[in-house]
Amino acid sequence: MAEQKKINPEGEKPEEEASEVPVSPELQKKAEEAKERLDDLMDEIDEILEENAEEFVKTYVQRGGE
């Protein structure tokens, strides 16, 4: 059953950082396990990150399309 996440009654937008999401301990454990499974993929992510990110982002320029 969906856990109803309420908007802050003050009307502020909630933080979007993952660490600030209020979750039950059980759900938190599940989330941690899922993230551990991502450990396996870190070496592939590292390969991507070998390239200079600032250069990459700065030069990913395109013309407007549809």
């Binding site: 592939e44 992510i45 399309g65």
Partner: protein, 588 residues
Amino acid sequence: MSRESKAIPKMIGIENEYGCLIRSKLGNYYTDEGGAPFVWGFKPEWFSFARSGAWDPTARLRDSHMSDNDAHEYFKDTRWQSLLNFLMPNGARFYLDMAHPEICIPICRNPLEALLHDRACEWMMNFIREKHYEVYGNEYRLFKNNTALGDELGGRRSIDSGVSYSTHENYLVSRGVSIKELVAKELPFLVIRTVLTGAGKVWAQNGQPHADYQLSQRSDFFGHTIGLHTTGTSRPIKNFRDHPYADHTRFRRVHVIPGDGNMCEMAEFLKLGLTSIMFMMIEDGFLDDRFSLVNPVSDFHQISRDIYFREKIHLSEGVSKRPIDLMKEYADLMWEYFETFGIRDEILRMAVTEARRLLGLLDSHMEDCFGELDHVTKRMLIEGAIEKGRVSSWRDAKAKMMDVQYANINPTEGLFYRPKTYARMKKLLTEVEVERAVFSPPPTRSRFQVEVNKRFGVVSWDWQKTFIAMRDRRELFVVCTDDPSIPWEKLEGLLCDDREEFFNRCTEAGMTSPNFFPANISDSYRFVDTEASEFSTSTEQGGDSLKCLKKMREIEGDEEFLHKKWLEELRKFLEQKKGFLTEREDEE
């Protein structure tokens, strides 16, 4: 006792503009000049498919003494696009659109077939990329995504303002559905479906407020509810384009523009499946006004940024709900629709079942959507890298690089296609099926065009018309397929190996035209006045809809004139190139 559905076959088309970079020969950097050479350097022979149905554009350029820039402008003109479309072995269309290499899937009969051919098109783009390196020594990067740095206003802003390029969907819908219905009911669905279909994006663009991460790639570029345009800094969520490549009196091609390109097969399948069902419900009068939104444009932006699904949006009756709950309501309604009309189609039922499962997970165990929904998969990969200290924060350029590289279709470079990562992605198709699909057009009029091309060579074509040379090479005849849902059996019977016989069969079937264009081009916009009358100026949206539709009527006048000019120029070109057709006939 179930009601009988009046929904017409939901034929699907997808147009994908790819991001394209070419490595400079002058230094170790990439530029955005890659689009034109990527397309114009393509050789149909690379697929052992000699008769591509397109004039060789490099030959035209040689004769024209045009600069590359002028040539690009010239070929951008839609009048010439039918001369430069490459017909691919699966019936896809490969061409250059606004400096982006674009590939459109053949016309497909259902969401799974459309997914299959979208993957096959991706496979072809990657293959073409490899061949370019082998044949010309040019290195390209291709991205199946929808945004980049750049300036939509052609240099008037900084490149940080950003650009967008398309993944458009097309659905066959009955002309019997009023334009008013579509505006009212299609619009909220396209906004709300983002919770499942968004491809995810790091940061914001186009002057929108900063976000670390968003669900939608494209929402920053959408600022209107309705409109005719498909480009620029304020695109319309509901696009009015009405060029159905079909009998206009029976069919609409509904042109859906705000979607993202998906890498995850499940996300794409859901996007195509649920949207198809939504249109079916409209055709059967089963979708009411309950999902109408008060502020669809700001809702689109909000939904994109609300990555934990907490905020509500306002519905017209003064009710507000979370978009994820609204999407669940859509799914429930779709299931009720199936029951009411006795719809047993396995593919459509699967779309709703899977949607319901994933919507439940999104709310409770979002991480279990990894590998199925792009916005979750991408986010978890980046979050994981941040937690492990590989990336310092969401503001790190590395986060943005991961976002872009996620959609790089080169399996040795792209994040999605890295072997271990890709192994974790949910597959609805096998690699063998995808590769086979490259050479197997779906049994629709797309297969017909491929089969005609193999036998006689196609001089020029679009989705509706196929131009074939008569035996003397001086004249063309055109075969028109006015029904996109025409069953293969009807088309198969026309095929034969003799050109004259083929012409006779098509003529007997009433499918050839003595002119180059089907008669009554002005009928294309015959419905504009009727449709415009559905709207009053009393509401802003009504007034805008009216304006759009009247604008389409203006365009009609232009179109007819332009088509006549095109015809003259085609004839002149044929005269100049009299020998051309003979040469191509001799090719194996």
